[in-house]
Point group: C2
Chain length 215, copies 2
Amino acid sequence: MPDVTLSRREAKDLTRRRLLGSALRILDTEGEAGLSTGNVCRSAGIAQSTFYVHFRNMQDLLEALGEEAARQVGPVIREARQRSSDEPRSAERLRAAFRVPLEKMCAHPEFFRLSVRARFDRATPLGEAARRRAAATRAHLVEDLVAAGLPADTPERALRLEMVADGVTSMTEAMAIGHLDGRYPDIEECVDVLVAFFAGVRAQLLGDQPASGQG
Amino acid sequence: MPDVTLSRREAKDLTRRRLLGSALRILDTEGEAGLSTGNVCRSAGIAQSTFYVHFRNMQDLLEALGEEAARQVGPVIREARQRSSDEPRSAERLRAAFRVPLEKMCAHPEFFRLSVRARFDRATPLGEAARRRAAATRAHLVEDLVAAGLPADTPERALRLEMVADGVTSMTEAMAIGHLDGRYPDIEECVDVLVAFFAGVRAQLLGDQPASGQG
DNA sequence: CTTTTCGCCGATAGTACTATCACCGAATAA
DNA sequence: TTATTCGGTGATAGTACTATCGGCGAAAAG
């Protein structure tokens, strides 16, 4: 059980959180350009060199930030999908399953853009980590699609489902970016389009397999 | 002997093309990390400082490279779509309309990744230019979708079509990345998924009436 | 022809940030 | 208590690249 006074471990953890928080705040306000070790540490009220007590470099911090974000929003998104699966006739729950990810992406625009960009970076550990997280996210979506009744009973269909999950994710990101850019001001219209795309491919996938009752 | 003397204009243009070519070759071989003014100029056989005779900076060169790529592949892609529109019953022509963009994206992987990343960069002129090109590409796709019979007769439907074009593009990019990453080795399967997604949303748009009900 | 223009060159100042080092002092262990 | 650990600090060397400058010589202009 933790003591009331700050142990070394607790104090260090607190400083680390301050650094992560400062980095996210700087992303939200100054953008990616403001992300220098000096700037982050100044914003956190500690010395620049202390940065290296907690992280190997800035990319290491960003990797940790991404992990934490995934740990926080991942379950929320999956729960929204679960609720839709629990009540397949509810249009609103289906919409929520698409709306929740959109809103999470839009919560920290610069961090979202940075995360997406990182995935296209083949050269750095940050890119590697971003792709690993994306793969995990995709796997979760595949699981949820299977739970929703989509077929993955053959290797071909499993891969197909993976591609569908990939497509759904990339389209959700595209809608989020369009919304953030001001091109799609109404987020409900973004949800409309996502639901329409998904309904189409869902019908295709279900029609693909032997009839197993009503759809 | 042939007159090898080039006019100033011709010589300068040749040097510029050499620089552009070297940059693309370096992207294909060494990747983005090799893209320094010195490296590009060495590869082109000219002095590093000469770089600035032709471009303001590296981003300026990349912007020019993007413009040239768009000028070259844009018409090819549009022609594939046109051929599909000309014969709407041909499944193969529809597939080609999705396959051609995929192949063009995969022709220069690193340049492709760089271009996509640039779009998510809010801070630099290169990002600005990349988004402008993406908007033009989207507008062309909207035109082609209208030519293929999709409705854009109201502002709402026009925006909806814009979102669909956005979604189709982002999904095509996702399939290209998946293919380049080795996750989707068979490009025909990528085409399958794109066609399936598109068929679904196409049916929705054609069957949809003014009041888009929730669901 | 003379003069001007300008594409190319070699050399280098500038740049702002990263990452390391030795050290301090409080928490912890003995 | 004494000894040890370790999170935090100030100072600074390192870094590799960018972008500019004056000069040269051939093309273009007059």
